[in-house]
Each structure stands twice: as structure tokens, then as C-alpha cells.
Assembly symmetry: C2
Homo-oligomer: 251 residues x 2
């Protein structure tokens, strides 16, 4: 039995995602980065910029998953309430972090702008948090307990994920292989069910796709055991060959 991958959750904080104004681009970035560490994103939630919502989401997810990542709500404006919520969830005060403040003052001085009170609120973190810096901004994200609190702006979010990545636990590497067939998934549903039955430890997903009015299906075999994934893929492609359904494979 392969080692179970660590599980992560993602809490997206922001009315603008729920209103449809802004489309989240961070979940895919996080999932792909974590996959490289053998960590699986097992759940994601999007909540409004409201204290009770954020605290409840944080508490539910941090109790259940090894790792929690958040995006959004750590900027300088009145609707940026994430840090207050994280501090409340952990029962600690919000404090100004001297290293964050130093970097921010240095940054604003160098760029000829003022380190205003609003800007310096971005140096405030829950007591005990460890800073997570990235290129392009002096305002840090941070980790407290098993919760990583990152910015929502995609470029900065991605930078903070990249900074934190090396310090995350390393899970078993997940293997995955995608078989594409140019038929609707109902054509292969019975075959897939049979393959899944013969390879119960494996995850076999079927994802219907449509492009320019024509349907195709991506059949994804994944798991932590490379030999088991290869065996399932061989079983599946053998079945497709028998039924004369052309397929192509990619990792």
C-alpha cells in the first residue's frame, strides 16, 4: 500500500470571486505546485470578506487538513480582514512584525514613496507567524501553524507559493497519465467502470471535453504507485484497442 499523500485545503477569501467580477486563477497554480511535492488539494472554499465566514472556514479546514492555504484579504484597505481573522482563529493578537516593517520602510524609501499607516498595516501579522516573502512586493505573506496566508493577486500568490514550497512536507510522488479518446464519454463508460473495478487502488477519472462543437474525453489514471498506474493504463488502452477506439496518451 502506497503512502497516503498529505492533504491540503485552499480558502479563497473575496467577495469579488463570489460575485463573478474576478475569476480565481490561484487554485490551479497551487494544485500544480503542490502536486510536485506529492501533496493533494482535497477541498477548496470561497468565502466572503466577513469575519465570521473567514474564521469558520479557517477553523473547519485547519482542523481537517494537514495544510491550509488562503488567498486574498491581506492588502492595505478596510476590507482586508484576513489577518484579523487568522489571529482570532488562533487566539493570538495581531502584532507588527519588525522585519516586515523594516523591509517595507526600506522599499518605500527607495522608491520615493511614503510608508503610510495604511501601507504599514501590511507588516501586521498574527503573533508567532513566520514571514513568507516573494519578489515584486515588500508586503509578506506568512505561515502560522498549518495555515499559509498569501496575497490574492495571482503573480504574488504564485511567488509566495514558490517561496514556501521547499519547506512543505514531501509526499509520495503522484503519477498520472491521460488517455484522450475522440468519442463522448458515454461510449467508453462501461469499459472505464470495468477497468476501475480491476484496479481498485487507482483513481480513474473521465473528463468530457468539447471543442468547436466536437466531443472528446480525457481519461486520467493517477496514483502514487507508478507500476500500478502503468498496469491500469495498459488495461485501459488494451480495451480501447479491442474496441477499435483510437487513443493518444500523455503524462
Amino acid at each position: 500500500m502506497a503512502e497516503r499523500p498529505p492533504r491540503a485545503a485552499f480558502l479563497i477569501i473575496g467577495n469579488e470571486i463570489l460575485s463573478g467580477r474576478t475569476r480565481d486563477r490561484n487554485l490551479a497554480v497551487l494544485a500544480e505546485a503542490l502536486r510536485g511535492r506529492g501533496i493533494r488539494v482535497a477541498e477548496a472554499r470561497v468565502v466572503r470578506d466577513e469575519r465570521d465566514e473567514v474564521v469558520a472556514g479557517l477553523d473547519a479546514l485547519r482542523a481537517r487538513y494537514e495544510l491550509v492555504f488562503t488567498s486574498g484579504g491581506i492588502g492595505p484597505t478596510h476590507d482586508d480582514i484576513t489577518t484579523a481573522c487568522v489571529a482570532a482563529a488562533f487566539g493570538v493578537p495581531v502584532v507588527r512584525h519588525p522585519e516586515a516593517e523594516r523591509r517595507m520602510r526600506e522599499h518605500y524609501e527607495a522608491s520615493g514613496r511614503e510608508a503610510t499607516a495604511s501601507r504599514l498595516t501590511m507588516a501586521d501579522v498574527p503573533e508567532g507567524a513566520e514571514l513568507v516573502f516573494c519578489a515584486g512586493t515588500p508586503a509578506p505573506g506568512y505561515r502560522i501553524g498549518n495555515v499559509y496566508v498569501f496575497a490574492g493577486v495571482p503573480r504574488i500568490f504564485a511567488g509566495m507559493v514558490a517561496t514556501a514550497l521547499d519547506s512543505l512536507p514531501q509526499g509520495p510522488r503522484l503519477r498520472s497519465r491521460t488517455i484522450t479518446v475522440h468519442v463522448g464519454e458515454s461510449e467508453v463508460a462501461a469499459d472505464l467502470a470495468a477497468v476501475q473495478d480491476r484496479h481498485p487502488g487507482l483513481e480513474l477519472g473521465s473528463y468530457p471535453q468539447e471543442r468547436d462543437g466536437s466531443y472528446f474525453s480525457e481519461l486520467v489514471c493517477s496514483g502514487a504507485d507508478e507500476a500500478a498506474v502503468a498496469a491500469a493504463v495498459a488495461d485501459l488502452t488494451g480495451t480501447l484497442d479491442q474496441r477499435a477506439i483510437p487513443w493518444s496518451a500523455k503524462d
Copy 2:
């Protein structure tokens, strides 16, 4: 005091969203359609294609929100478990819906394909469900209680939302106005906080944006009361004028 808008939640069912393979496009479509009915999406969750996860998500959301929408997991393959989960959550059996079966058989006959057992599973719904059809597919979505169960494929999801829209409760129309300023949000953070303080019933959001390396901020005033939104916008733009920060407005 304006009437409180009905609140909806969105449950996205699918490993492919959590793995980053597929980016969700349905939340924004749902949010925009519901906004036209004065209904707000208050929370969204993404869960894996696992029975306990789906049932727990459904139960949490349907108890809390007036309306719940789901996407994904109603296709013909072994990993399409949404209908079984919805039936379990409502404590009813899964039954074949005669009208759905009739339409599907008709469709496949007309297109010279076979109505296989796999395909006909898409005519199975929780007992008591009302069908929601849309153009482009004979396989229906459905409503049971306050839960709307729709397909994950974006074009079909959008079609099902459009079909259901007229039957949804009509909330107060939400007014919203966006002021764009070509400065980082920290430049206006103190002004925004002051405007928010003077207009407590209003929702005032600040969304930092970045395009081609230059920062700008979208300041969004929204609420159910048109006059209150207009007053807050006048207050905000007056403040920006005083500070000689150019702005532009759009709805």
C-alpha cells in the same frame, strides 16, 4: 432598510478542478445570472468526487442557504456520483425518470446511436426531482428541494442556469458602481475607510489590479438601495477630486 437578498451557494464537484487540470468557469456564470435576479452567491466549495465529501458539502450548504447549485458528476461514467449523493442527502431512492428516458431514447434514435445502459443512467434522478432541460443535450439537470443539480461542462451548465432562472425567487436588484483609479490601493486606503464609515449599510470593496506591470484599483460600491449607492459614489469621487486623483466610473 432594504430587503435582504436571497443567498445561494455553489458546490463544485470534481477532482479535475481541485487538481488544477480544469479551471472552473461556472462560478462566474452563475454569479452573474443570479445577480440579475437579485440573488447573491454567498459561498462556494469545491469537493472531490467522493460520496462522503459530496453529501457533507450538500448538507452543510442546503441547510444554510436558500438555494444551492451544484456542477459536475451527472455524466454517464463510474465517477459520476452526484445523483447518488443528492438522493442520499435527501433520503430518497434514485429512480429512472420516464420523461428524461423518453427524451434520451428519442435523441439517440434520431442521431442513429444506441441508448446504451451507460447513457440511460443520465435519466436517473433522486425521486421527486423536477427536470431542468437545456438545448444541446437530452440529459437533464434537476431540482430537488432547494438544490439545483447541473452538469459541469460550461456550455451545458450555462444553459441549465438559463432554464432555471425564471423560476428562482426575485430578490431586490443589486446596484453596483465601479470607480477605477490608476494608483495602488494603498494610496486610497484611508479615504476608502472613511467613506465606508460614513456609509455603513453599503458594501465598498477595493480590488487591486495589475496589468503590464502597472497597478490600478477598482473601487466597487454596491447595495440594494440605488440612492445610497449614488450618495456613497458621490462621497468617494468628491474625496478623490479633493486629492487630485483622477478616476473613471462604470456600472
